[in-house]
């Protein structure tokens, strides 16, 4: 139990550090946000008014505490560009990105696990080389280039979907899915490549372990050894990496939402960044970072439960 408490304390500490970093990034470094927004020519009163409105005239730590408490109460301040509370802006956009993220995770797991296992079981054969080559390419294609290619091939050439014709999930969930499969694929390709590579390496490591030799010594068939013994140990070795995938999926979605015009928090983030909309950007950054830290924490606990060596260390 002590380990759990220790892990929880570290989680809170990390979240505090994130909030500190985010706050620092948006309040200290840029100097006077009002100046930046209204430009240097603005009159003193207008600057003063905006500063007051933004609350940047208060002492720093006060700004920080009010921002943090506001954040937990769900009051994220008002967006400058859209001049409406950040909360309503986030509203359904979070659901869009969440659904996109879910589709990516499902796609990645469904493709990577069999592919990784297949590559490992066909050790030192042409098939394994092909998979290696594909994963090498998969890792090297940037998200935005892949999206443009998908738009061009699937959209303009094959007319499987019309680029830019996003359908909200409330109106027609089927059409939503048919459209979203392409951005999801664009994010998933590099993730599939990475996870396949990890699973294959984990499988190969397990194959050289002594207990596999024991299993062969018992006369177990190739299949029972591969799925009964090796895969189970390989999955336990790979779970921590799935935690890390969440971070890179978010990165991917920021770019892909922009290319496909999907109204998720990724796209909102870019428009808020280009529009220098501090309160909105700050909230989004904090939001995404927290989600990632929490998922890593959950994955960490998950490993404890699954691996008996840790769960029952006497």
């Amino acid at each position: 139990m002590r380990y759990l408490i220790r892990k929880a304390v570290i989680l809170i500490l990390t979240m505090f550090l994130i909030s500190l970093m985010t706050f620092l990034a948006f309040h200290i470094i840029p100097g006077d946000p009002a100046q930046l927004i209204l430009g240097t020519s603005a009159s003193a009163e207008k600057l003063e008014l905006l500063r007051h409105q933004l609350g940047t005239d208060l002492p720093l730590w006060q700004q920080y505490t009010s921002w943090i408490f506001g954040f937990f109460r769900g009051d994220f301040g008002t967006s400058i560009r859209y001049s409406m509370p950040v909360k309503t802006l986030l509203g359904d956009r979070i659901v869009v990105t969440a659904l996109l993220g879910l589709m990516v995770i499902v796609l990645t797991l469904v493709v990577s696990i069999p592919l990784g296992v297949y590559a490992a079981s066909r050790r030192n054969t042409a098939a394994e080389q092909v998979v290696n080559f594909l994963t090498m390419i998969g890792i090297s294609i940037p998200g935005f280039f892949l999206s443009i290619i998908f738009m061009w091939v699937f959209g303009l050439v094959l007319h499987l979907f019309t680029p830019g014709s996003y359908v909200s999930y409330q109106q027609d969930f089927g059409a939503f899915l048919r459209f979203m499969i392409f951005p999801a694929l664009a994010i998933a390709v590099p993730e599939i490549a990475i996870l396949t590579k990890y699973i294959r390496t984990a499988m190969l490591d397990e194959m050289d372990k002594d207990y596999v030799r024991t299993a062969r010594g018992k006369g177990a068939s190739h299949r029972t050894i591969l799925y009964g013994h090796i895969l189970r140990n390989a999955i336990v070795a790979v779970i921590p990496l799935i935690g890390m995938m969440i971070g890179s999926i978010f990165s991917g979605s920021i770019i892909v939402e922009q290319v496909f015009g999907v109204p998720g928090i990724g796209r909102l983030l870019i428009s808020s960044v280009t529009g220098r909309d501090f309160p909105l950007t700050q909230t989004l950054v904090m939001y995404i970072a927290l989600i990632i830290v929490i998922t890593n924490f959950i994955v960490d606990i998950l490993i404890q439960v699954i691996d008996p060596r840790i769960r029952l260390s006497n």
Partner: protein, 356 residues
Amino acid sequence: MSEMNSEKGEILEVSHVNNYYEDTGLGIFAKRQKRQVLSDVSFTIHTDEFFGLVGESGCGKSTLGNAILGQLPFEGTIRVGGMEYSKSDRRKFTEKVQAVFQDPMSALNPRMTIGSTMREPLRAHNIGTREEQIRAVNDMLEKVGLDASYADRYPRELSGGQRQRVCIGAALMLQPELIIADEAVSALDVSVGAQILNLFHEIDAGADFAMLFISHNLNVVYYLCDRIAVMYRGTIVEIGSAEDVYHHPVHPYTKLLLAAIPDFTSRIEDDGTGTLADIAKANAQFEVRNEDPEGACCFYHRCPYANSECLKRPSLTAVPTTDSEEHRAACRLAAEQPSAQVDEKGSVAEAFQSTC
């Protein structure tokens, strides 16, 4: 030789050393337990003496070795040549004590030639110029049975035995007064191990240094050492001259160790007709009872002679022996009867079987 040590003076003083292992455990369900590794260990080694420390894995003998080298924290005091280890003046301390470890394969920096590895101690204490250091290395290589041509080779080009010779050479570069050999021959083949044991004899004749020889093999320790200490669960249960401990053991655990060592005189006989009970009876001497009361003798849970008197931890009491060297055992049997003569293996085994 520093004049401070009289002819028979102590080079190593270990007094009341305790050490705890903080087992934080990995799982969220693991509680943080504090396990005692060394409990009240005290002994001394005379200058120019080969002292054997023998015990099974996990009894704390390597922990003690590392504690003497200042590599891990402990309670109590350890003095080498009158000097305690302090992190601030590590250099002065390392001039007095050096070490040879078990696994020659990982004991040498793979990216460094043999010559520069052996010059490392001289560089660390900036003794002599580069040429003097190289010459010292070449002399040492001859002394340990290799030759100067090995100086510019890399560890991966040497066999296990050759690498162990390099480690011994490196340990001797500073002419230390004490060498800690932690399982120095255990990882080697039998024939190579014998060469290393012979090497220890040859260099002992040349330079005069004391050695703490740590091993799980009582035969090797008996062969090489003048005095032997037997360790069990972090406690010294018997200490004395090699003759006394090997041929006149007093502590039941030492007897058990001697009975269990496979040798060339006796064989395990079994015609397969025995039942499970017979097997259990034969193995009785090794069975572990589950009552292990706090503060009792560390061998209480396995000892066939244990009684109420053993509930209080016995201290090392002298055994009336013919040999001049002091022979002590941490057991009530020590004072009562003269060291039981171990005529042949059978008698010890029967002693154990009869009592269970």
